[in-house]
Amino acid sequence: MSIELRSNQQVELSGTCKVEDMVLHSLSPKYRSLNIIISLVIGFVMVAIILLLAIQPLFSMPQKYLDYYYIAVMAITFLTLWSVLHSYFADPKKKYAIREFDVHFQSGLLFSSTVSQPIMRIQHIEIERGPIERSAGLATLQVYSAGGANHAFEIPGLVYEKAIELRQFILNHKDVSQNG
């Protein structure tokens, strides 16, 4: 609101960086392999359970199950392959960029989107790490604005140290500390 802050205008005018000209950073290369491994493991476990139920000798399954279980196996195999292929091609498309006053995340293979989050509108930040992410040293940065949880800004597959660094950059940002 005050007059000193309005002088920021010049900074932005001298910097010619438009959203479309930003330099985008890739996520950690481990991110894609991790996603593929997770898909494969989940698919394998589900197929294994279905198969085991069908061939185990302990108790008899209903006849309908024995007649149709191969359809479920095929469907799960197809979905697993689909998600592996999708991770393989789509994950490298996920990129992020940090500018002086906003953060951006680009993603999508067929339907691409670029989400731009002004730092001034950030309400709080979380770093989320599941057990698998932890074992790979990765983290997901989640940024919430007043737009609600449905529109949380998220950068997955960051190296943990990088995620901490990013969070610190946002927390130290004067827009968050003064105007946020």
């Binding site: 609101m1 005050s2 802050l5 309005r6 920021n8 205008q9 900074v11 932005e12 438009k18 959203v19 479309e20 500018r99 002086e100 006053f101 906003d102 067929l110 339907f111 691409s112 989107s113 670029t114 989400v115 731009s116 989050q117 002004p118 001034m120 509108r121 604005s145 007043a146 737009g147 609600g148 949880a149 449905n150 529109h151 800004f153 827009d175 003064q178 105007n179």
Partner: protein
């Protein structure tokens, strides 16, 4: 709650000062009524699903009227006791900058609420408070729903003074730099200007154009069974045979059609008149007034509602027009504030505190109100740019083609020609709707504001300042990338807005414009 008596009263401010002595206060005993009524409502909502069970056993129960009387009396006594206990355990204390409320019989709660965190102060006056002129004050906070606080019974004059006091304290503590101005204007804060009021005629129009019958359908739900019984008995008693009236065999097709039409008209008439009554119930004596920095809406026939919204909290202005509104030249104007964390997000729009609705105003009135809320906005002069015609193509491929195909495959075994004609007409019909929809889509922007036009038979206009944007998204599928198109999604605190199939260069421009503006403009969105 008339505005005429809204003057700064020394006696009242003295009373407010007395309230702020730091002692724990008790409510007026009239609040027992409030608590009892509230526990009846709570009970009714909790045991709503028991109503069918009672209805099934109604005949059995009917045989023992004594039991009904005893049970009803017991329940009534329980409610009254609950009311008394709630009243007994309710204490509130007002400090110089905060309010504390202790309440609860079994589950005690202690709310400590600084004035500075109060976002919204609502006054409501249920019917039974009107005799002694008491009011409830509801304090909305920006945070979670659980923090919501309510002072259940205060004299209306005192409540009004108290509200002014809270709001003044809240604004003073927020802007220290302007505190001197704020205190200078403290007297002016109570000087309300009425911006708009709705006459009975306006409310009838509102009831006609906006179907408010659900208020009645909701209230009548428990009695559906008995209503239909009553109707069938009534028809029998006047010698009306419904089955013969609607029998295809005994009458000519045009006669049958006429009968159906007349019944439909009759139902429409009932629906519309109920809707009008609903509109009057909700918006009776509607006034929208403005103080220094907020809008206050007052309305209601049985329970009077008073909702106030800080001007700076308005995220978006929506001017909505249904097809009937278009014919009559009326619009529903609403000012929306943030939805996240609002306690009553699922309430009907009449009571919702995140929306300030001005029902069925004329277009010049609406434009004037919008100008008042956001003076630099120029919705009236905007020339809207159309979106790409490929939007129609997408609809044809994704909706019209599958629907036509399904209809064709469903019918063609019986009759190929009928199938073809039905499928074609469905395709053309959906296509026509898509064309209308495409024609309604439009967007426009200037240095500060973004404007959207959309609709189908009606038309809605949206206008929001770009600096209130929380997040912007550039969306593009590979199907529209070759044509340099993209969709823009803008997230506001009141919800997201999407404009599909714009030129990609425009989307980029707008996003750059929004982000660049936030670099310079450090105003808060609140």
């Amino acid at each position: 709650m008339d505005n005429s008596d809204f003057s700064q009263n020394n006696e009242d401010s003295q009373q407010v000062a007395e309230l702020q002595n730091g002692e724990w206060n008790k409510l007026s005993p009239i609040s027992i009524v409030y608590f009892a009524v509230r526990s009846i409502f709570d009970f009714a909502t909790t045991f709503f699903y028991l109503i069918p069970v009672l209805a099934i056993n109604f005949n059995k129960i009917k045989e023992q009227p004594l039991i009904i009387v005893v049970v009803a009396a017991c329940i009534l006594i329980i409610f009254i006791v609950m009311g008394v206990l709630n009243y007994w355990f309710y204490r509130f204390r007002v400090g110089s900058d905060r309010i504390e409320i202790k309440q609860g019989i079994f589950k005690k709660s202690h709310i400590d609420l600084p004035f500075a965190r109060i976002q919204n102060v609502k006054l409501s006056q249920p019917l039974y408070y009107r005799i002694n002129d008491y009011s409830c004050i509801e304090l909305d906070t920006a945070g979670s729903a659980k923090q919501e606080a309510k002072i259940v019974a205060l004299k209306t004059d005192l409540a009004k003074q108290f509200r002014i006091k809270i709001l003044e304290t809240a604004t003073e503590s927020k802007s220290d730099a302007f505190s001197s101005i704020a205190s200078a204007d403290a007297g002016a804060a109570s000087n309300e200007v009425i911006l708009n009021h709705r006459s009975m005629r306006d409310l009838v129009i509102h009831g006609l154009t906006n179907n408010r019958i659900w208020i009645f359908l909701g209230a009548l739900a428990p009695f559906y069974g008995s209503i239909s019984d009553f109707l069938s008995q009534f028809f029998e008693s006047i010698g009306f045979d419904a089955e013969a009236y609607f029998s295809i065999e005994t009458q000519a097709w045009w006669e049958f059609g006429l009968h159906v039409l007349s019944v439909a008209m009759l139902i429409m008439l009932v629906v519309v008149s109920f809707s009008v009554v609903g509109a009057i119930l909700m918006f009776y004596k509607y006034t929208l007034s403005k103080t220094k920095d907020r809008y206050i809406r007052r309305s209601g026939l049985l329970t009077k509602h008073e909702v106030s919204m800080k001007l700076s909290r308005i995220q978006i202005m929506v001017q909505a027009q249904d097809w009937l509104d278009v014919l009559l030249g009326r619009v529903n104007l609403s000012f929306e504030q943030n939805t996240s964390g609002v306690a009553n997000a699922n309430k009907s729009d009449g009571q919702m505190s995140n929306k300030l609705l001005v029902p069925s105003v004329t277009i010049p009135e609406s434009l004037a109100l919008m100008k008042n809320a956001m003076p630099s906005q120029t919705l009236a002069e905007q020339v809207f740019k159309p979106i790409s015609k490929r939007y129609i193509l997408r609809g044809l491929l994704l909706i019209a083609l599958p629907v036509g195909g399904l209809l064709f495959t469903a019918i063609f075994r019986n009759d190929l020609y009928v199938a073809a004609s039905v499928a074609c007409s469905a395709f053309v019909f959906i296509g026509a709707i898509l064309v209308i929809r495409w024609k309604r889509w439009g967007y426009s922007y200037d240095k500060e504001y973004f404007y959207i036009r959309r609709g189908l038979f009606g038309v809605n206009y949206y206008c929001f300042p770009m600096y209130k944007v929380q997040q912007a998204q550039f969306k593009q599928s590979i199907f529209i990338r070759p044509y340099q198109l993209a969709s823009l999604k803008v997230v506001l605190a009141s919800g997201a807005k999407l404009v599909p199939y714009m030129p990609a260069s425009d989307v980029k421009n707008i996003i750059n414009c929004i982000l660049d503006q936030l670099v310079i403009d450090k105003r808060s969105w609140m």
